[in-house]
């Protein structure tokens, strides 16, 4: 249908867009090996010395540890809440069912500053259980991670035929056994891929974190602070390059997991 000229220009456009998407990522990885302190292009020499110095930077280590703790805990909370919500909404009809999906999506749909600011002033007002630190970061992250799990699980449940559960019950399984041997295997890959995405989302989050972290630094907050002040840029380069490599892996895995839907492949 398309003429030869159109085809060629569309090919060229596609290549340009891929270049546009990946050139910055490639450049940032190259900068991690920059010998010089000055961040100019092209880099002045090749070195891996910044990797070692970053690894021994206590600030980076603390920030990394805090980020990992927060992301793990927020993901765990989101898995429980998101799965429960997904089952309730997909299996039962009740008043206000549509509103629930809407409420879950809000923290992701509203601008981060609104979520962050709301939580910040709420934590200040309520006080006691919410003293700023790891706990408030986890709560803040959990709010927007729930929807990722919820969406993944609900999509899988909707593609699963309810007759499977009825068959299980007809064969004499009780509620727990049905969950353990039928429901859970069906949703497990969706759950894992949702959890990986939630983890990546939490690990990378800046805006809500700035409002809920208090004096603590997660890794993104550390990076943000250093870039803004122009300090320790060689180490920032290393951290950023490593993070890119690390976030791409779970997302790639999640992508693969959500494609193969286990025993209930319908397509």
């Amino acid at each position: 249908m398309e003429t030869r000229a159109t085809r060629i220009s569309l090919w060229a456009w596609m290549l340009l867009v891929v270049l546009f998407l990946y050139a910055p990522i490639a450049i940032i990885v190259v900068y991690a090996f920059n010998e010089s302190n000055i961040q100019s292009w092209p880099i002045e020499g090749f070195t891996t010395k910044w990797f070692a110095s970053t690894w021994h930077n206590q600030e980076v280590r603390d920030a990394l540890l805090l980020s990992l703790k927060a992301a793990l805990a927020a993901t765990a909370i989101a898995v429980v809440l998101g799965t429960a919500g997904a089952f309730a909404v997909s299996r039962f009809k009740f008043f206000g069912r549509e509103t629930i999906s809407f409420v879950f999506i809000l923290p992701l749909a509203l601008p981060g500053i609104i979520t962050g600011m709301a939580l910040n002033s709420y934590f200040v007002t309520v006080g006691s259980p919410f003293t700023f630190g790891l706990r408030t970061i986890i709560v803040g992250h959990a709010t927007f991670c729930v929807v990722v799990i919820y969406n993944n699980v609900i999509a899988r449940i909707r593609r699963t035929s309810p007759s499977l559960l009825e068959a299980s019950q007809d064969l004499g399984a009780d509620g727990w056994q049905t969950f353990r041997f039928v429901t859970f295997p069906v949703i497990s890959t969706a759950l894992v891929s949702g959890a990986l995405l939630a983890f990546a989302l939490s690990f990378d989050e800046v805006i809500v974190t700035t409002f809920t972290a208090g004096a603590q630094n997660t890794l993104p907050l550390w990076i943000f602070g250093k870039i803004r002040l122009g300090q320790q840029l060689p180490q920032v380069n290393v951290v950023v390059a490593v993070i890119i490599a690390l976030t791409i892996i779970p997302v790639y895995l999640a992508q693969r997991l959500s494609r193969e839907s286990g025993i209930l492949r319908r397509e």
């Binding site: 456009w13 596609m14 867009v17 309730a88 629930i100 729930v146 890119i244 790639y252």
Partner: protein, 304 residues
């Protein structure tokens, strides 16, 4: 179900059986139990926080003691809408969000068309992953990459210099923000547009050609109208995400690149005037609400 047989001898079995029968008969009970946890979490923390925030927009702060004064008034909103500085910042934020949306639409459309129509199934799958991955590769890392690229001694000017073109001095400016935002949110535009174009049946395009339409005419009269809901769906992301950002303006913007988000952040963190911040934050909220209503009219939600 081997373990069903194994556990049949245990004493707890009968009780568990009865309990599961109760839950099976009373579906609403199970539903309620499942909902209790997530609902309590959202109601007690997230929704409560939002409500407190909205209410506090009508309060004020004592300028001397910086204590919260809980008397209802519209002063904050008056300041937001009459003070020229705040109006300029709001107009800048909305303007750049609109420019980013249009740019992304123009970049995404031919790319999505290629993905849906010209690429082989394997290539399509590859492009899909290629578009998706940057979305998850650290936001800060990608903004920072552009800070390095656009710097005076950065990769952009080096390339321009090699090509014999004049160098650009666009680091820390609104131009830089425009480029970076367009870059960061581009995948959000490509994916829904691709989904919309992929759904156009081949026969539509063949019919258009059979009726004598040349390439451009088919694009304008068949592809564009059918891709439009996808474009609107993508624009919700690009527009909303730009509207609420303050990290990119801080990192790549210049002295006169403040966004609504920057003012809000400064008022919460430094000035400690949450009521005013809350009032100003209603501007992007209202703009988005309006945008969503229009988008719904244009059929964007079926394309998501």
């Amino acid at each position: 179900m081997t373990s069903g047989v194994e556990s049949a001898g245990r004493p707890s079995w009968a009780a568990r059986r009865r309990l599961s029968a109760v839950f099976w008969r009373r579906g609403w009970l199970r539903g309620l139990l499942l909902l209790l946890l997530p609902l309590a979490f959202f109601a007690l923390i997230y929704l409560a926080a939002l409500v407190v925030l909205l209410i506090s927009a009508f309060w004020s702060v004592d300028p001397l003691t910086t204590e919260l004064v809980r008397t209802w008034n519209l002063d904050n909103f008056k300041t937001v809408f009459t003070e020229p500085t705040y109006r300029t910042i709001a107009v800048r934020t909305i303007g750049i969000a609109a420019a980013v949306t249009v740019t992304d639409a123009i970049v995404a459309l031919p790319f999505a068309y290629f993905m849906a129509r010209l690429a082989s199934p394997r290539m399509r799958a590859l492009l899909f992953v290629l578009v998706l991955l940057p979305l998850w590769a650290s936001y800060l890392a990608r903004v920072y990459a552009w800070r390095l690229i656009l710097a005076k001694e950065g990769a952009l000017n080096w390339t321009l210099d090699r090509l014999g073109l004049p160098t650009l001095d666009i680091a820390y400016s609104n131009w830089a923000m425009w480029i970076v935002f367009s870059y960061i949110w581009l995948p959000f535009m490509i994916l829904p547009v691709y989904a919309a174009i992929e759904r156009i049946p081949d026969s539509f395009l063949e019919a258009s050609t059979d009726l004598g339409a040349k390439g451009w005419r088919t694009t304008r009269s068949v592809v564009l109208p059918l891709a439009f809901p996808g474009l609107v769906a993508g624009s919700i992301f690009t527009f909303a995400l730009t509207l609420g950002d303050y990290i990119t303006p801080t990192l790549v913007g210049g002295a006169s690149s403040q966004f609504i988000g920057n003012v809000v952040y400064a008022n919460v963190g430094i000035a400690n005037n949450v009521p005013f911040a809350a009032a100003y934050a209603t501007v992007p909220l209202l703009v988005m609400a309006l945008y969503l209503v229009v988008a719904k009219r244009l059929g964007a939600f079926e394309a998501l």
